[in-house]
């Protein structure tokens, strides 16, 4: 089936179906415009420089059902979460908000979590949503951003009022139950001096083939602080394409940790833009892939104004026939004096069939900057391995320990115990660790 046909039948028909109910008018316009962009552009191809290493042929061929809310297994989904963890939980099943599984009881006054569909029409927040929605991720960037915006309906709007400190993290979980395509959307508006921890996770009940295409937009007002932990654990048959965009105002701090474990094919675009001086961003990540997984990370850090600091530390472990792509762009614009931008991408290549393509890219238009980037591709150090073997560890264990050590720096950034534990297990299990042996 050709790409054009897919657009016609699946996305096209669905789009026509939903269009009539869209309110308000501005949203309808945005969605129609975005769908027209998708129809014109289609999905990116290898000829697009930004997609040069990620072949979407398989995804383009697939025909997903778009909505499948009726028969979700709520019990099975609830088992995916830790019962002891203290968190505000918002659950989406197959991209649809699920009230039954959602529990946001532990929010202070000033913090609001709303279904995006409702927020759009809300008297108080409608204006705020309209002001920010779609402003940080341009729907016209590529076929995926266009598609998500065209289907913009289900999602979350998080609003943290001025000087509000949210103690208990807000966890947004996107759970896939069966085969479907979903287009969730998140908008976070953190007002001046507010503080919040956001967890964004992608989970599944089984090993189905499905497609998640999400966009997260975050805007931090002056002095706002946001900690963002993203854990992607889609099924190994799934397709996952996400864009995260953060817009930083004066002296705000955005600290993100992005963990990629799942999906047959995943692509994460992360865009951080500095709009005012004194802001700081941490964009860290770990991708750990094996089998025939393909994990692609594209980041853009845009120093548009003076005196901002960015730190980027991405690590990758690539095993079996997996393939990892990292492309990190750092722009320092003409007037952005006093910029400090550091970027590092280190990769462990554990198999001869695995492949890493990395491109740390700097574009600098100002001389008063401190910029450095580095990238490495290598394997475990023979000497370190020898040392552990000489201490009586067996080889598998020694390798696992060293591999874990490589990833630990990123995992340790995560403060939420249940997630950290899951990750520890995931890393060690994925590496066939046999700690008891």
């Amino acid at each position: 089936m050709t790409e054009g046909l897919v657009k016609e039948t699946i996305y096209g028909n669905f789009f026509k179906e939903t269009l009539s109910n869209i309110q308000p008018e501005w949203l309808k316009d945005l969605r129609e415009k975005s769908f027209a962009v998708f129809t014109a552009k289609g999905f990116p191809t290898l000829k697009d420089e930004d997609w040069k290493y990620t072949n979407l042929a398989q995804l383009v061929r697939e025909q997903f059902t778009i909505r499948k809310n009726e028969n979700i297994d709520a019990k099975k989904i609830s088992q995916l979460f830790s019962e002891t963890e203290n968190e505000n939980r918002v659950v989406f099943a197959n991209g649809i908000f699920n009230a039954e599984l959602t529990n946001i009881s532990d929010l202070p006054e000033g913090a609001r979590v709303l279904n995006l569909g409702e927020a759009v029409e809300d008297e108080t927040f409608g204006v705020t949503v309209r002001e920010h929605l779609g402003k940080f991720v341009n729907a016209e960037t590529n076929g995926f951003t266009a598609l998500n915006t065209a289907f913009l309906n289900e999602g979350v709007f998080i609003f943290i009022a001025k000087n509000t400190r949210v103690e208990t993290p807000i966890h947004i979980a996107f759970v896939a139950d069966g085969e479907a395509a979903s287009f969730p959307r998140v908008l976070v508006v953190a007002e001046r001096g507010s503080e919040v921890t956001l967890i964004e996770s992608y989970l599944r009940t089984g090993e189905a083939k499905y497609f998640t295409n999400s966009i997260i937009e975050i805007v931090l007002a002056d002095d706002a602080k946001l900690k963002h932990t993203r854990v992607q654990r889609e099924s190994h048959a799934a397709f996952h394409v996400t864009t995260t965009a953060a817009s930083l105002n004066r002296a705000s701090v955005y600290d993100s940790t992005n963990i990629t474990l799942g999906a047959r094919l995943s692509r994460h675009d992360i865009n951080v833009k500095f709009n005012a001086e004194g802001a700081e961003a941490f964009v860290d990540g770990l991708y750990l892939v094996s089998e025939e997984q393909h994990a692609d990370t594209h980041s853009v850090i845009d120093h548009a104004v003076p005196n901002c600091v960015s730190h980027q530390n991405y690590k990758g472990i690539v095993d079996e026939k997996a393939r990892a792509v990292f492309n990190g762009k750092v722009f320092v614009r003409e007037n952005a004096s006093g910029t400090d931008a550091q970027q590092s991408n280190k990769n462990l290549l554990l198999s001869n069939d695995a492949r890493v393509d990395t491109k740390p890219q700097l574009e600098i238009f100002n001389d008063d900057v401190k910029c450095a980037h580095g990238a490495t591709v290598g394997q475990l150090e023979e000497e370190e391995l020898f040392y552990l073997l000489s201490r009586g560890l067996n080889e598998d264990l020694a390798r696992n320990l060293l591999t874990y050590g490589f990833a630990e720096e990123i995992i340790n950034k995560i403060e939420i115990e249940s997630i950290k534990k899951q990750l520890d297990e995931a890393v060690l299990n994925r590496l066939h660790a046999n700690l008891e042996a």
Binding site: L350, E363, G374
Partner: protein
């Protein structure tokens, strides 16, 4: 800091003059007839004409890729270029005395005392004036050692089997747009052949010079080192000042067999255009070496200071086991210059090693990019790469970019890339100035320190020249 350095940077191009010499130039335009005419003028054999025609026909099917670069460049009207221009030549000259005195004066102005070089520099110079080689020195001495060093045209006549064997074997005529164009219309160039076990007794050097307004120069250089051979080849360039842009699309092919080594150094200082970017040379070059044999080594060193636009990626294909590829580069841009340069290291053989050291200095409103590829293929067990690319920015309006592509398909490979960006700090300048150095000398000293790792790879005379060149080029840009 202000005016002193600005003054420096705006110094006029020192080598901007044209030589009044009778040249034979064919009419502008490009067609199959042009290709045939060039071939006929050069009395080429049938196989070479066919090589050209095949390349030309392929070129017609090719399109310039659009939007790949992060800068704009004007469309080039390929019909508005004269593809052949030769100084009128009578019989072959046996000594320099017979060379047109006007031509010799040009070289003298450039500071290349060709007549003295025989005695002083121990360097054989194959001076290419526009398209045809006019004087070759030391040929005899080299021949005694078994080394062939001659113009490409002569090589076609005298060693057709070698040319047939290696021409287009590293850079196929279909490789890219400008390589195809070059293969169709190349005029002349140099050919070097180092036979088995021979270490070339002297460093070889060619001076290229573009003269004749509007004549694109399409050089073709081929260097082959047989088993155990060694050669160091130096290339330096200057060009007269013109207002209309001139296209230079050269192709350089290097072939290194078992245990051989080729060291290729370039100092490029062609006319860069005026302050606003008017005029200047377009330097679109394809340079590639193939380490075919075991333990072979190819080393590229370049100092790029001229041209309005430079596109150049001297590359090494590391086929032989244990082979080594090196790339040392200093690229300096000022005013409206654009330099997009870097290298490709393709690791195919086992235990192949590559080193990339790139230093970019951008001043004025210029755009300086490192664009490189390190590719480790699945069978390249134990491949190793180290890349360091540093940029230095001078002023608020310039641009320094890094586009390193790293593709690794073997788990025993080790690839490291690091890059930094810096500027000349007030503290450094202050320190040097309070020690009594002038601002200009201080800047020059800092820049030379920044580039030291590359300069030490150059032959001494070149290193001296290069250091002076950087100082000259940067005059006035720090302030």
């Amino acid at each position: 800091m202000s005016t002193a350095v600005e003054l420096l940077a705006n110094r006029e191009y020192k080598y901007g003059f044209t030589t009044d010499i009778e040249t034979e130039t064919i009419a502008k335009g490009l067609s199959e007839d042009t290709v045939r005419l060039i071939s006929r003028k050069k009395n080429e054999p049938e196989w070479l004409l066919n090589f050209r025609l095949k390349a030309y026909r392929h070129w017609l099917t090719m399109k310039l890729p659009d939007n790949w670069a992060n800068f704009h460049y004007p469309n080039i009207d390929f019909q508005n270029i004269s593809y052949y221009s030769a100084p009128k030549q009578k019989a072959k000259k046996q000594s320099l005395d017979e060379v047109d005195p006007e031509l010799l004066r040009t070289f003298e102005k450039l500071g290349i005392p060709l007549t003295e070089q025989k005695m002083l520099a121990n360097v054989a110079v194959d001076a290419v004036f526009d398209s045809v080689s006019v004087a070759t020195t030391y040929k005899k001495k080299l021949l005694e050692a078994g080394v062939i060093f001659c113009s490409f045209t002569e090589a076609v006549a005298d060693y057709p089997e070698l040319i047939q064997k290696y021409l287009g074997s590293v850079v196929p005529s279909s490789d890219n747009y400008y390589a195809a164009l070059n293969a169709a219309v190349f005029s002349d160039g140099s050919f070097v052949f180092i036979p088995k076990g021979v270490k070339c007794p002297m460093e070889l050097s060619t001076y290229f010079r573009i003269n004749t307004q509007d004549s694109g120069q399409f050089e073709r250089t081929l260097i082959v080192a047989e088993e155990g051979g060694y050669v160091a080849y130096n290339e330096g360039c200057t060009a007269p000042q013109f207002d209309t842009n001139q296209l230079h699309a050269a192709v350089v092919e290097l072939v290194a067999l078992d245990n051989s080594e080729i060291k290729y150094s370039t100092v490029q200082n062609w006319y860069a255009g005026d302050e606003s970017g008017k005029g200047g040379i377009y330097n679109f070059v394809t340079k590639r070496g193939a380490c075919r044999g075991r333990n072979s080594k190819i080393s590229w060193t370049q100092v790029e200071t001229g041209s309005a636009i430079t596109w150049k990626y001297p590359s090494v294909i590391l086929q032989g086991d244990n082979s080594i590829g090196e790339f040392y580069s200093v690229a300096l841009t000022n005013n409206a210059q654009v330099a997009d340069t870097g290298t490709k290291m393709i690791h195919l053989g086992k235990n192949t090693k590559s080193t990339i050291i790139s230093k970019g200095i951008s001043a004025g409103k210029s755009n300086n990019s490192y664009r490189g590829l390190v590719k480790v293929m699945p069978k390249a067990e134990g491949a190793r790469n180290y890349t360091q690319c540093d940029s230095m920015l001078i002023g608020q309006s310039c641009e320094a970019n890094t586009f390193p592509y790293i593709e690794v398909m073997n788990s025993s490979a080790k690839v490291e890339h690091e890059a930094t960006t810096s500027k000349i700090s007030e503290e450094q300048l202050f320190y040097l100035q309070q020690r009594g150095l002038s601002q200009e000398d201080s800047v020059s000293l800092i820049i030379n320190g920044f580039c030291k790792e590359v300069f030490k790879e150059l032959p001494m005379e070149y290193a001296v020249e290069a250091q002076k060149l950087l100082g000259l080029k940067l005059e006035g840009s720090v302030g």
